[in-house]
């Protein structure tokens, strides 16, 4: 493909403001656009995105207004799926568990701030070793780490209850008790994301100028006071970023719930999250129209949570 022919293609000519100062329209066109070449560069992505993202988005909205027959075929049912959804007690349970999981995930952020501030102490040795230790869970496979966590959480012979029994605590059946199970899975979620959060915060910490700490030290501020009055305020943009990302991630949690509690568990109905609820309707009982409505609700909830976070940010985030 040669460029010169491509540049004269009709697609390049489409939206073009009248160039009053340009002597020849053809010449102007050639300067504004690069002809067909860019389309060749974006074509694979646009084709893939169109087929597997744009079209499914449109279709999902449509599906949420339909009911699926047992042998295929869909019937338009209007807002029936939504009225059914809002009357479904399972929705409240799934939503409550999802919020609980998100709370646990967000509680991991202060922990990450503290650890990241320790990791970024000036003159600290073995820094890269510590970084590897904390980061390792980030790069591993959820399906493969969940098996060992299930063993650690085992109510009869798990390491966690064994350790608790040493200090006289009779630990629960972690993954078989509603509420407790979601918190237990949330802790694994924190374990898996802690290293990532620490790295993001570390980048924010390195951007804080040293002379601020020197000034604080001259004023007699202790380490703790420096953390509260210098580090944390200047770190709020990174903390805000992590809060938004963690909340979005938490509202989409599925893997760990499926893997650690399991779709055959007797308590799964009480411990399911929104995406698990979606999956069980869409792919376990083939109630796909209903599942699509759950998916749309999830989209709206995530959009709302993100919007609220952005509105609240001006109250606590300090941009330098």
């Amino acid at each position: 493909m040669t460029v010169s022919t491509a540049q004269r293609s009709p697609s390049a000519a489409a939206p073009r403001p009248e160039g009053s100062r340009s002597p020849g329209g053809d010449r102007r066109r050639r300067n504004r656009y690069d002809g067909l070449t860019p389309w060749f560069f974006v074509a694979p992505t646009l084709a893939g995105v169109g087929l597997f993202y744009v079209w499914p988005t449109i279709q999902s909205f449509y599906f949420s207004f339909t009911e699926w027959g047992a042998f295929g075929g869909t019937t338009w049912v209007g807002i029936a799926n939504y009225t059914r959804l809002f009357a479904d007690p399972e929705l409240l349970v799934a939503l409550g568990n999802t919020v609980l999981y998100a709370v646990v995930a967000l509680a991991g952020i202060p922990l990450a701030v503290w650890l990241a501030s320790l990791l970024n102490r000036p003159g600290l040795r073995f820094r890269s070793l510590f970084r590897v230790l904390f980061f390792l869970p980030v790069v591993t496979v959820p399906a493969a780490v969940s098996v060992v966590w299930k063993l650690l959480y085992n109510g009869d012979f798990g390491m966690i209850n064994y350790a608790l029994s040493a200090v006289g605590i009779d630990g629960p059946y972690w993954l078989q008790t509603p509420v407790v199970a979601v918190i237990a899975v949330g802790i694994v979620g924190v374990w898996m994301s802690l290293g990532f959060n620490m790295i993001i915060l570390g980048a924010g910490l390195q951007a804080i100028p040293d002379d601020l700490y020197e000034a604080a030290e001259l004023d007699g501020a202790s380490r703790f006071q420096q953390l509260i009055h210098v580090t944390i305020p200047l770190l709020t943009p990174s903390i805000f970023f992590l809060t938004v990302m963690s909340a979005i991630g938490a509202f989409k949690v599925f893997d760990l719930i499926f893997l650690m509690i399991g779709n055959t568990s007797p308590v799964i109905k009480e411990t399911q999250t929104l995406v698990f609820f979606f999956y069980s309707k869409g792919f376990m009982v083939n109630d796909k129209g209903y599942a699509a409505a759950i998916g749309i609700l999830l989209l709206l909830i995530i959009a709302l949570v993100t919007f609220v976070q952005f509105r609240l940010q001006r109250k606590w985030v300090h941009y330098a």
Binding site: Y33, F52, W55, Q59, F130, L133, A144, G262
Partner: protein, 278 residues
Amino acid sequence: MPSRSGRRQESNLVAYIVLGIGGLMMIFPFLYQLSASFMTNAEVQSIPKQLLPGELRWENYVNGINSFPFWEQLRNTTVFSIIRTTSQVLFCSMAGYAFARMRFPLKNVTFAVLLSILMIPGELLLISQYQIVQSFGWLNSMAGLVAPGMVSLFGTFMMRQFFLGLPKELEEAGRIDGAGPATIFFRIMLPLALPGVSALAVITFIECWGAFLWPLIVATRAEDMTLAVGIASFTGEHQTFYPQIMGVSLLIMLPMIVLFIALQRRVISGLAFAGMKG
């Protein structure tokens, strides 16, 4: 200032203790997994707990591998991860470059549409994606496994950011020398973007290796599954084969752990870069 540096060192002691204990807690599950993989089932379930196996029972690994189609699934996972990674790196770089540096009509509108789709939770799209793959007859096939992930909105966005940060002079020099856009891209810009490309490649590969929900839906026959789904279904069927399950799941993670330790800086900075820009 001797007093100040003295104080720093003294208070770093707290950092060493906290990070040391915290770091050990972070890798304790892996260490216990390794240890339990050599135990007998009775040792795993014993009370009081034992931390180390009585002897190294390598046969747990052999038995674990032989109780499900491990090698087929390893091949599936490898092919799946390589195809998706190669495809995403190529297409995201191309599209990212076009969005960063080329001029074409509706560019900003198109990019804004892509960005807004990035905000949509991918889970919502599963039903429709499944329908499409099913209508192509691609269920239980490699084509079906890789299909929705051949391109990536996030990767396109990341590569666009990367190309925006590169100097324009080399491109212009290439153009003056008469190089076409393809030559400029593949010969000049792509090599310059190597740090971004390799970061994207590593992130994508790690993500593919652990991908769960889509492979779970598309592959229902054991020999078509990836390892992540395979180990979950193996665990579901053999709840109590603890040592074998621990061994096999460690084997699944081994390539990622080795990759991470070998490319530590690249992986961490790549993920941090991706995280901040994403």
